[in-house]
Every structure is written in C-alpha cells, then in structure tokens.
C-alpha cells in the first residue's frame, strides 16, 4: 500500500507505442494507466507480465516492472512472481490466442489455484500479430486466412472456462467504454484472488468491427447490460428491459408489459459462491439476450499464495531446524 498520489502520467513509459492506428489496445492502455493511480499500490511493487501477441506488448508501455515472456506463458511467469514475492501487485495482459490456445492449460490452473493476480484478456477473436488466422474465440464459420471456407471449430467463451475452473472473479467490458474499463480494472485489483477481465477488443486490421453489434453507439444500450452487485438487472435505451429467471433459464422481459414490475427483475449477486447464475449470465448472447458487462462473479475463496505463506509460518514455528547446517546434521549421522 502507498500514500503516494499518482497520476496517469506516472505510469506511462518512455517507450514508443507501436500498435496499429485505431487499435482497441490504445484505449485499454489508457484505462489501465488511469486505473493504476487508484489501486493504492506503490509503483515499485507493480509488475506487468505478458505472453506473445499484440496485447503482450503491453508491459513495455507501462512504467512499472515487466516481463514480456513466451507465447502462452504469462500465467506461469506471473505465478512464479506472485508466489515467490506475494507483496507484489501482478498483472497479466494476454489475448484470446495466447491464453485460450497455447496457454489454455496454464489459464485454467491459474484459476483453479486462485493465485492473486489480475488478468486482462484482450479478446479480438483473431490472431493479429501473425496477421489474421482464426483463434479459439473466432465465431463458427468465419472466413480467415487459415479458414478460407469458414471455420469448422466451435469457439470457446472465455467466461465458461473461468466458471468451469471455479474462478473467483470474472468481469467483461468493451474497449469502447473507458469509464467502464477503469471501474472494472479497479475492482479486479481489489479482488483477493485470480481476477479475469475479458475486454472485447477490436482489431482494426484483421477483424474490424467483430464486436460492433455489441459496441456500436446505436445498439449498445440494448445489446449490453452493465451488471452491478446488489442492483437490478435492468438495461435498454429506455432502461425498461430486465432479466428474469424462468425455470433454469434466463429471459428478457420489459417492465410494464404483461404485468412485469421492477420487483420481478433479478438482482445481481456477484458474491454468490454458487456460480450457476453467473454462468448463465456470462453465456447470454445476441440476438436473444444482451451481452453481460461488469463484474459478473467476485467471490472469496482460499488464495494460493496466502495459504502457502500460512503453511510456511506454521512449519517454521514448529520446526527445530533453523538453517541448512541444522538440517544436514539432523537425523541419522555416523561419527567415524
């Protein structure tokens, strides 16, 4: 924790930013550097870690400690940093190829262990740095350079993997909403445990407008719902649509129609340990539903790095062995 008052500028590095003009990554960078002064951590204690891909150039552009590692390997680097030095605030920037394909294994295990790091996944549904191949999140049937006749692979929804691995924090946001991004990054930083923030991000060159049905000005109010813990799930241009639970399924209703009142609308409980509703919310997709934004799940659970420190403290307290000399001279020895 720090008392130092930072501004955005304190986190801007001297490196020239080399993303394509119009890339959604710029707004994510701006939102992160806007959020960092408000998380209460001294900048000497912040580390940004990445794998490979456009998103993974991120650490060069923030003036903190950073590691730009190997394709898919940001999570184990971050794990090594956080577990060995738990006082550090560790951030991962990654993409849909980096963390859903080559790093998929590390992704689920990071969540299963619940290591206290913050992971921002830039999901543009394409491989950008290798120039336009389909990724594990590319919609079925989309034509790309490696699927000239359309993909025949069912895509992952990153949220489903997070829920499946019993991740403790999942939020979704869009690169076109700086205010929402900043709020969510701050929430992710506050969460004790592994936080995943999926940013629906636009690749202006190889997959332009992939999220436009969600992000365009004309449709966004009807096609997004920004969930807030403890608040009613209401959305729409006229703020009169809402989500209700009918049997085991969610349903969109309009307040004032068919006798529906605001009281019928679900209240968002991000802290419910049972992730069933979080799972349903995270799966909502167009055209039947709005896409859920905001902190969908944020629950308390044992944190790996804290459990490890606790074990060490306990064992240290009980053991007679205080150094390596004690150890090598302990047990069965023979004096000849």
């Amino acid at each position: 924790m720090t008392d130092t008052k930072y501004t955005r500028k304190d986190f801007v590095s001297d490196q020239e930013v080399k993303w394509c003009a119009g890339c959604g990554d710029y707004s994510i960078l701006a939102a992160v550097t806007n959020a960092l002064p408000e998380i209460g951590v001294d900048k000497k204690d912040i580390v940004f870690v990445s794998g490979i891909g456009c998103s993974s150039r991120f650490p060069y552009y923030v003036d903190t400690y950073g590691v730009h590692s190997l394709h898919g390997r940001a999570n184990p680097i971050a794990t090594g940093i956080k577990v060995s030095h738990p006082n550090l605030s560790v951030w991962i920037t990654t993409g849909d190829g980096d963390s859903m394909a080559i790093g998929g294994n590390h992704f689920i295990h990071l969540l299963r262990r619940n290591i206290d790091v913050n992971l921002i996944m830039f999901n543009n549904q394409i491989y950008g740095l290798t120039k336009g191949q389909y990724s594990p999140t590319t919609p079925l049937g989309q034509k790309t350079k490696t699927s000239p006749h359309g993909t025949i692979e069912h895509p992952f929804k990153p949220a489903e993997l997070v829920m499946g691995a019993e991740g403790t924090f999942y939020a979704r946001t869009v690169d076109t909403n700086p205010k929402m991004m900043k709020e969510i990054f701050i929430e992710a930083a506050k969460h004790n445990g592994a936080s995943v923030v999926e940013v629906l991000q636009n690749c202006v060159i190889f997959n332009n407008n992939t999220h436009h049905n969600i992000t365009d000005k004309e449709v966004r109010d009807d096609n997004q719902i920004y969930l807030h813990h403890g608040e009613k799930m209401i959305f729409g241009k006229d703020s009169n649509k809402g989500i209700v639970l009918e049997g085991l399924k969610l349903k969109v209703v309009t307040v004032g129609e068919n006798g529906v009142t605001e009281a019928d609308i679900l209240t968002h409980d991000a802290k419910d340990k049972d992730g069933t509703l979080h799972y349903l919310l995270s799966r909502m997709s167009l055209p039947d539903f709005p896409v859920a934004m905001g902190v969908i799940r944020s629950v308390d659970a044992a944190v790996y790095n804290e459990s490890l420190e606790a074990q060490i403290a306990e064992v240290k307290n009980l053991s007679k062995i205080k150094n390596v000399s004690d150890l090598v001279n302990s047990g069965e020895t023979f004096t000849l």
């Binding site: 060069y60 190997l70 680097i77 590390h106 240290k316 004096t335």
Partner: protein
Amino acid sequence: MNVVEVEKIVVKFAGDSGDGMQLSGTQFSDTSAIGGNDLLTFPDFPSEIRAPQGTLSGVSGYKVHIGEIDIYTSGGAADILVAMNPAALKFNMHDLKSGATIILDSDIFEPKNLLKAGYESNPLEDESLSNYTVIAAPITTMTRTILKETGLDTKTIDKSRNQFASGILFFLLNRNLDEGIKFLQQKFAKKPELVKSNVNVIKGGWNYAYNLQLIHTTYRVNPNLNKKGKFRNITGNIATAWGLMAAAEKANLPLFLGSYPITPATDILQELAKHKELGVKTFQAEDEIAGVISAIGASYAGSLGVTSTSGPGLSLKSEALGLAVMTELPLVVVDVQRGGPSTGLPTKTEQSDLMQALYGRNGEAPMIILAASSSSDCFDFAYEAAKLSLEHMTPVILLTDSYLANGSELWSIPDISKLPAIKPPLVKENVEGGYQPYLRNPKNLVRNWAIPGQAGNQHRVGGLEKNDVSGSVSHDPLNHAKMVELRAQKVEKVADYISKQTLNGPKSGKLLVVGWGSTKGAIFTAWNQLKNEGKIISSTNFNYIMPLPSNTEEILSGYDEVLVCELNNGQFVNYLRAKFPKIHFTQYNKNEAQPFMVSELVEKFNETLEAL
C-alpha cells in the same frame, strides 16, 4: 567356523517390488556405515510400481557395496545374493561372482513360481547352482511360525520375510545384530507392533543360521580407517536438494522450485517440499513448461529460481531456457538423466542428454553445463550451479542421472559456514542515472540485477532481442550480432571462475581415459586397478562441460590416444572433437541404460593399451 576378512563385498537384495528389498538394503547399508565401512548403494527397479508377482519383469533389486577400502562404484558382480523368489534368482545369475553365496527362500521354489520365472527344473534340485554356496532356508514357513501368535494377518507376516534373510546375512557377515534391530525400531517408530514382529523375525533368521551350522565360513569387512569425521548416507537427489538450499541460504535469497513430477527426478521436488521450515517454496506445476517458467518468474522477482526434471521434461523446457538466456536471469535446471529417447527407460541410467543440454534450443543460446560425479557431490555441484547462475546471471543445467540420483554413499557432512560466498550482482534502489538492465561488468560481462520492489529501477525484460545496455527492444542487425557475441563470451568467461581440470597419472603417455559425470567412480577404479598392476595409463573426469576448464587442451594433449568412455553413443567425444581437432580421440560407449562395470572398463583399457 572360519572367519575370513575381506576388504570389500557386494551384496545384492532381489525380490518382488513389494518384498521390501529397498528396506533390507537400507538397513544393511546404514548398519555398515555405523560399523565404519565405506559404501555405495544402487537400487535397480522396474518402472512399474507392482509388476506381476514372481515374474522376471517384477524383480526389484538393491545393491550395496561396502569396503574397508574406499568405494567408488556400486560394485561389479555380487558376492552375496539375497533372492526372495525364483525370478529374483534367475534375473541375477548373470551378475554373480563364481562361488558367490546365495540366500534364498526354499519355500517359494515350487512349480508355480518356477514356471513364472521360466525355470524348466528346480535349480535347488538340479546341478545348476553347484558353483555357488546356497543357503536355502524355508523363510516363509519360519517367518509364519515365528509370528503365529501375533494375530497379524498372513499378508503382513509375509512382509517380514526380508528380515529373516537379513538375520542370516547379519550372521554371515559377522554384523552387530543390535544395529539391525535399532534400524527397525527407528523405521517403524510409529508402529510398535511392526517393530516387535520384525525384530523377532531378524533374530529368528540369525538364530537359524547359528543353530543349524549350515554356514562354515563367515566374512568380516573391517572399518575403513580413511573415513574420519561425521558422515551420513545420502542419495544424489537429496544431496542435490540440500545443495540448492545451502546455496540460497548463502546468497541470502529465497529458494523457489517450480517442477513437475518425473522419474527419476521427483525426489528433488519431494525433498524440497518438506522444507518449509527454511522458507523453501515449491510449486508443483501443471506441466514441465509451467515448472520452468514459474522458476524464471521467481528469479525475475529476486529468488533463486530452480526447476528439476529428466530428459523428456528438458525437451519441453527448451523454449523457456532460451528465455532465461535472453533475459539473462539466474535459473538452475537439474536434469536427472534416464534412458532415452522419448519415454525410454524411466528408471534406468544414461548420459544421453548431453547434446540436448548443450544445444537443444533455438538460436545461439549458450549456457553453463555442469555434471555431478557421485551421489554425494551432487551437493557440491548443485551448490556450484546455483553460485555460478547467480553470480553470472545465466541459466545453468546440472546433469545428474538415475545412478547418482537413487544411489547413495557416505557423505562427509560439510561445515555449511565454510562454503564459498555467493554474491549475486544485485543493485541498490534508485540506481544513479537510471537502471540499465543490460549494463555489464566489463570483467565478466555480467549484467546488473534489479528486482521488483526496488524504487526507481522499473524495467522490462523479455524474449525479444534487446538493445545493448538500455535493454529496449531492438531489431538492429549490428546490435544483434553484438548481443550474440556478448552472451557467448559471458559464458566462456566463466572458465576464469571454475576449478582447473585435474589428472590421475602421468601428464603424457600412450593412453588417457576420459569420462564425465557419473562414470567417475567406475573409470577411476578401473584406472587404479591397472596402475596397481604396473601399467602406464592416465585418467581424468569432467564436471565442467560448458565452459570446459581453461587447461582442458593441456590435459588432453600428450597422449597417443584419448579414449572417451560414456553411457551414450558418443556425445561428449564429439563435443571434444569439435573443440580440439588435433587430438586423437577414440570412444567407448555403452547403451544398455546401466552404469559401467569396472571389469568391462579394465578389459577395454587393457585391450587399448595392447593395441598401441
């Protein structure tokens, strides 16, 4: 009864995987150590946990070589074999000295078991064992009789059969039975009923041998008077783990191991996991890659990052090793070699990862390669690997192998306070003029190390080529050429900081025999034998592979022939040929995934000398 004094003896314990041969072997080796013998042990077991009982594929063995003289190998053919079933006998017949003593359980030599072992007739009844002294005791019957009143079930009772054999062995070797009993008391401290039963059985075995007067000659191996001080029996894997812990303590850095279970390296992970009392952090990763990568992360943050593995795991770690080379971070990789390629022979020994260690990466990616040469010097070389890695800011691969890892020997316990200092090039906070990640010490070309948590030293490292000094990303052709050269020179310069190569025998002559790593004991013993026979021969063993010691060419020059002996198809000899094209190298290779036997080396050395 005669007591014959012998200067060394090899005992082999063999039975089914569940027969407790490791326990009997450890009991015998520990009590030998207490009795003052030098010793070396070598377990030899199948990779299946419990292969079908009574079959050849299920035979598990434990060899113990003890001596009044210094012992450097696990010994050649056995002087005494303890065989708990026909398969164990059959499996070990090739590895027995003529006239050896065989202690066996006659109860088990019945048709069903003979068939399982592939015997057409009962070796106890035909003439096939006439060259051996056979002590055929009804071990199963006797053990069950002794424990009849205990109320233990037959399965538990039969697990004590090994102690009946141990009792006979203790009598045969004039060993102090009290020490064997003490071992059992410690081993089963938490299960008093098992202490009682096993003690009764070992006494029963001893009495059986004494009363029946079956044994006309017994043996005694006197204490080794060269061994003075405080010792313990230690395996290579435990010694490796402790060496790493000692280095971290000396460097005043936290120790972090990121690892994934793999035979025969897993003991290192298990041992380090035990030592939270000293702050050791172990992370059992989801795969080999996450193991090494997490260690690199820990090093970046200011720990001594370590990963442990075996050949297949090292293959998976290759890309990460390149990252450690590029980021110039400390990283110790312990590769406990096993038979390869692919899954190969997981529980057997081989030296076939050398080329992988030296060259198995993309790009020009040199790093330090060390090889330990005995179970106990795994401690020294693990310590040295960590020291060089931290002081030279480079990954280091330490090669051990299954033979060293699982084998044990007496280790003279060092004074930890007297181990050499370890001084990593850590900078202070707020480096004047700004921290430059690739600013180097001109003497050894080592970069300075800043770690997160230090104010003012924020910097980024990564796998992309970096600009000299500043460390920003660079694709400049001349900068790349310079950085390739700097990384290579940095590793070459380590030669100025390591021991010189030593030599046994004359500095020039007809024949120099060369080994590296774990073959040291066998090659030295064979060399010593020839020297004692008056032959002129020299030998040397390498622990520093990359870089080689600075006097290597000098050591290797001056002989008509340099014979390089290794447990692979010629990896070290080809490395030496490339480095020293003027020297005449020949090679002796064994690809049986077993250590060298002294006898085969002696034969090869004699043959070579005669041909020169």
